[in-house]
Symmetry: C2
Subunit: 419 residues, 2 copies
């Protein structure tokens, strides 16, 4: 018997019929002898409806009051799911974040979980009840209702699993696992039966939208075993098949993963590159350039500075494309003259492609295989940055699909069964 936390997103509970199917799936796990805590989001569309209503009242809604309104979305779902479970003969209890003691800081609309009182849930589980908890929400030290911000229900699920010491946190979503790359770009992409946390973090931050990055960080910090599963499979799929159908996110690098040096190809569209050319190479220059951008609340992604030659260097970084014009203006008008740079250049049509894999650590030559592959396709590399388990390159966005497909093949990721 295991203690399992399952999280179902807005699409999975988007209608009365879907809520009933979630109840059936939960009961399948409970009938197999497991204790189950279910975390749910608001029915799809509901959070947007509530926020739109709030904006009609106040174009920039007061954050504390917006959380009071938005938190009702998940509260409706927990009640409905508990009813569905009861109508199918399984005892259940629903709880808001407030009731189950999900303590957060007071950063309304983007609060962070600090602790959870797990006693009440445990008492229900001991009585054989399914516990249904509202995701996305909590309470601060003053007893105000808070929400965790978009995607916060994943984090709720992981945090509850950590507080309960659950054997596994299962995230049900409308994709059925983590793939070697986006199947829309590479039809031969194959599903990974498992992936390490470090790889998942690199994949997530690079644009694989399977899990919210915060929830993965949280799971890594508290060593919660995570499994991504599809809520689109038939609810009566046998348990073993259901387990096999997803991706397990592990802490250990298993033997199989050692063989696959590169686990996946991640990419990010809509990047823009800015280069400050001929920067006098003296301490504090990088700070002066980036602080001006940071103060304007523009997020910076890749940063590259090369060895200086004759006392001058070039400094490059990338921003989201929608911020490009603003960032370029700040650098030309506020920074260039101030630091004595020769020129500010930009390119709003770039994209980032990365190879990710824990196996990279012990294998030389991975980066060169990447660069050779791109070169053979005639793709020019504009910037390179690396981490222990990742190599990222910035290239012209028109080559994105070509680069991803070529790399996917070069690193033997194509699914022999697909394509």
């Amino acid at each position: 018997m295991a203690l399992i936390v399952q999280k179902y997103g807005g699409t999975s509970v988007g209608s009365v019929e879907r809520i009933k199917n979630v109840a059936r799936r939960v009961i399948k796990w409970a009938d197999a002898g497991h204790q189950v805590v279910v975390v749910v989001s608001a029915m799809s569309g509901e959070t947007n409806r509530l926020i739109a209503l709030a904006r009609e009242i106040q174009p920039e809604p007061d954050p504390r009051e917006l959380d009071v309104v938005a938190a009702t979305g998940e509260q409706v779902t927990i009640g409905l799911l508990a009813m569905a479970l009861k109508s199918l003969g399984r005892d259940a209890r629903s709880y808001t974040g407030f009731q189950v003691g999900v303590h957060t800081d007071s950063a309304f609309t983007k609060a962070r979980i600090e602790s959870i009182d797990e006693q009440r849930m445990r008492a229900d589980l001991e009585l054989g009840r399914v516990v249904v908890v509202a995701g996305f929400q909590g309470m601060d030290a003053q007893g105000n209702i808070t929400t965790l911000g978009r995607g916060g229900s994943d984090t709720s699920g992981v945090a509850l699993a950590a507080a309960l010491g659950a054997d596994e946190c299962q995230i049900y979503t409308d994709v059925d696992g983590v793939y070697t790359t986006d199947p829309r770009v590479v039809p031969e992409a194959s599903k990974l039966p498992s992936i390490t946390f470090e790889e998942m973090l690199e994949m997530a931050s690079l644009g694989s939208k399977v899990l919210q990055i915060r929830s993965v960080e949280f799971a890594g910090k508290y060593r919660v075993r995570l499994r991504v599963l599809s809520s689109l499979t038939p609810w009566d799929l046998p348990l073993e098949d259901e387990m096999r159908s997803g991706t397990l996110i592990t802490f250990e690098e298993d033997q199989n993963m050692e063989r696959a040096v590169v686990s996946g190809i991640a990419f990010a569209r809509d990047e823009a590159k800015i280069t400050v050319v001929g920067v006098p190479d003296r301490p504090g220059i990088a700070y002066q350039i980036l602080s001006a951008v940071g103060q304007a609340n523009i997020e910076v992604d890749m940063i590259v500075q090369n060895q200086s030659v004759d006392g001058f260097t070039d400094f490059s970084f990338t921003v989201g494309r929608s911020e490009y014009a603003r960032a370029l203006g700040i650098l030309k008008n506020e920074v260039q003259g101030h630091i004595g740079a020769r020129e500010v250049l930009g390119d709003p049509k770039a994209c980032k492609v990365s190879i990710v894999g824990v196996g990279m650590r012990s294998h030389a030559g991975i980066a060169s295989t990447m660069f050779r592959t791109l070169s053979e396709e005639g793709i020019n590399i504009q910037m390179i940055s690396t981490s222990e388990i990742k190599v990222s390159v910035l290239i012209d966005e028109k080559y994105l699909e070509l680069a991803v497909r070529a790399l996917h093949r070069a690193f033997d990721l194509d699914d022999p069964a697909a394509g």
Copy 2:
């Protein structure tokens, strides 16, 4: 400076524009130097929408979970109203029943308030904030969400006023006060500037739908001064005019009221009469007749038993018309033979008309004026029952309007300005 609790019903907060108008009205009171606590219902239609959703999941929804779902309706309104107040420059804080410590028993969907923690509200009021509280809801001793049942928001308002020792509880509704009778039946009906609690209780239970009877009882018990006001008046009506426009429910019989012996004419449609004829007059007979009806969950209204003659008496009572056939069947099949009654007669087309007034206590002849008036109109009286401040008669339902109009005139209640 006074401390005022205002309650706004679902129609008054039924749209974004109406919520904004409520905010403007509240600010008018606050700007006059008053501390204001506002209790609100769910936006009109919202509670029904939520209950319908629950019934789609479970035809007879689990009461605990139904309360979890239904309580979200008011939670949305409090957030929106607090935003509206803030957007108009008035600091405000919203609270759910849970947050403000509205403690109830555990009778889900029809819970009763036991106590309220008023400290948090008082702290906000001291800081000049308007406090916005969700009506209709609370929490039980185990921390479960409860609701007070239909119309419970009135009770919430009165209970908060009692807990805070408020100077007045103002119930804003879509009628503008308490009338001498239903203006749809008597166009000359006039609004009562004030009415006593006892009269209000008689009027409410007899079908004047202005206030929920439970909230009036609650106000009487805790001696909360109640005022019924219209939310349909312009929000910028001067305060004095707004006060005058409603009806005050008082504990004292003032001099004016002493003059009006009868304050109003109440009535109830859709009554049905059942008479058990020739009942042997021995102890326990009334119990034997009524317990059979009560066990079938049929509510009994008027009960009349006359002096017995020759050891036999007739026993009559009324029930709601929809229960008539069932009640008659029970009496004929289960009771008549058992108690040795001669016959069971019934009439499904009756109505009850009552005159109500504290002045009656000290005036003889009021009842005879009533009976004479009805007799002059050719209306036969089928049953009579009386209390200290009320005389009720049961008559054929076809005479209802005629009887109400005639009595309204006979007791000088017609508004000289109307009709």
